[in-house]
Symmetry: C2
Subunit: 333 residues, 2 copies
């Protein structure tokens, strides 16, 4: 790439546009970004590496930007918070053109506009592999009488709590399969579901307001993500396969594997919400689409693990429960 660092940063600034969030008092162009908070910060970071999490050749640059930011937005949603400001680091090989970089940042901007996120800073570094790391800050939106934030915690599940999910599952994994086949006909939006996921900030906030205190997002795979809840809460979980809200287009495209895609595919970026049935019902009433109850948390001696069962109570198992970021357990996207 023939463009120097400072010229490239100028191009990126133009693509991102002027920040309009009045809370930001120092942004791109100073040593660090500075913004006002309501008294609390929620912070997360997530990375996508070419050849591991995506393949540059097969994906539009703006979709990479969208998804890299959306994955972080989903983590803030899974705490019950609202996202605000992002720092973006681009690992840039020499053979990437400035136009590609501009399209990438257009994707950050589009996702940011959809979720109220401003790119407030970041870094561009020479590297032998293309990668993007986003660090995203946000804030809690619901507080108790003492001013302490109310959140969705992984360790807050109780025995007997119901387990619910937002939206549908399996669409992203089905979309990936179609894309890997070279079938980007975008059948019923499956490919788009994989490329431009829509995290559920609305549902996280509604759940916290309704009294739900435990949740996680579906990023690595439902069974694996729910396993983190079990480990943190010291409980088991039973999930009924027949209750899973399988994406209709995914089921139509892959009828024999629809349950597996929904249970282990990941990257749907829906929320798993865990709490008393009444709190989940109240959450549903606040949302356009109701939650789908898929199981319950177990105490006692039946194991601190996730069991997926069929209508007769028999346990189902799959070769993989989700994505291990080091073992590369799923297909490379």
């Amino acid at each position: 790439m023939g463009t120097g660092e400072f010229q490239l940063i100028e191009r990126v600034r133009r693509v991102l546009g002027a920040a309009v969030d009045a809370r930001l008092i120092a942004g791109i162009g100073d040593d660090a970004a500075v913004w006002r908070t309501g008294g609390w910060t929620i912070a997360t970071t997530d990375t996508m590496v070419d050849g591991v999490h995506f393949r540059r050749q097969g994906v539009q640059a703006d979709a990479i930007g969208w998804k890299a930011l959306a994955a972080n937005v989903s983590d803030i949603a899974a705490m019950g918070g609202a996202p605000s400001f992002a720092l973006v680091t681009l690992f840039l090989p020499q053979d990437v053109e400035p136009e590609w970089v501009e399209a990438l940042y257009a994707g950050f901007r589009a996702c940011g506009e959809a979720y109220g996120v401003t790119v407030a800073g970041g870094d561009v570094v020479a590297a032998p592999v293309l990668a993007v790391t986003v660090a995203l800050c946000g804030e809690p939106v619901v507080f108790d009488a003492s001013g302490a934030p109310l959140l969705l915690r992984r360790d807050a599940a109780r025995a007997g709590d119901a387990i619910a999910v937002t939206g549908t599952l399996g669409g992203s994994a089905a979309g990936l399969r179609l894309l890997l086949r070279g079938d980007d006909g975008a059948r019923a939006g499956l490919a788009e579901r994989h490329r431009r996921p829509r995290p559920r900030v609305d549902a996280g906030e509604a759940a916290v307001r309704a009294g739900v205190r435990c949740g996680i997002d579906v990023s690595d795979g439902l069974l694996q993500d729910l396993g983190h809840i079990c480990a943190a809460s010291g409980l088991g979980a039973t999930v009924r396969a027949g209750a899973l809200p399988v994406d209709a287009a995914a089921a139509a495209a892959f009828p024999d594997e629809a349950i597996e895609l929904a249970a282990t595919g990941g990257e749907d970026y829906e929320l798993v919400l865990i709490g008393p049935q009444a709190a989940l019902d109240a959450t549903s009433q606040a949302l356009a689409a109701p939650l789908c109850v898929i199981g319950e948390m177990r105490g006692g001696d039946a194991g601190r693990d996730v069991q997926l069962v069929d209508d007769d109570g028999r346990e189902l198992s799959f070769e993989r429960r989700g994505w291990d970021h080091l073992a590369r357990a799923k297909e490379t996207r």
Copy 2:
């Protein structure tokens, strides 16, 4: 590497130890970290890539962790703030051993303990190249009567302001030269100066309290870093070579190039502070070691650039003024 993601994260958690900062209410192990703020956040991010910013074979893992965090601490210091919580992303090739990763995080912990920073979260991703990205948050520490934070901004220089630096310059670049020669005899601590820089959070805070409003840290090279001040403030700068506080050990090791190392070497992580002489004098009085005045900001028609001049007022120039992260203008460390 045979260790899965979750086992490795457990090892890293043990190395980092339990968080002791009571502001942190959710840390490693949830979807995102959550902490209390005083109402403002300062945020920055910085990355080190193997083969670009360092060479894994030649550097101890804990020194990489120290320096990756210290570079970010220096950015917070250069805003006049105090650092608080970090998110660490590790790009991990398969041939890196878990013990190496543990030593890396021991370096993060050591630097964090020195500067009051807690690693509150992060990510570990499979990648073909070893790299570490740190996103660091902090807070302003000085406020005006209306409650607005007082900061060191790049665009706050005024014509006639004096330019001062903390500490000494050139030590890190001289240390790098010795290390590249295989001379790690640590002559007068030069190698250590390069490996474990000590950012000047104390000086940033003292400067803001004393009324200084403009500053930057020496990361890419004094002349280049000062160029950012000129560009943001719309001014020129004159720096007197004879006034530069050249590191004594660097001058002894490289007598013919000491000025060049001090002016362009970078990575000293000292602060450049710009303001009225009285404010700089007051800053010196608050610190154990006085600031060194090296020049002044120019308005008018003499150009919006940095001029380095000798005792007779003749301009000195060097082939490079600092580090371009994409052009790789300096030697690879």
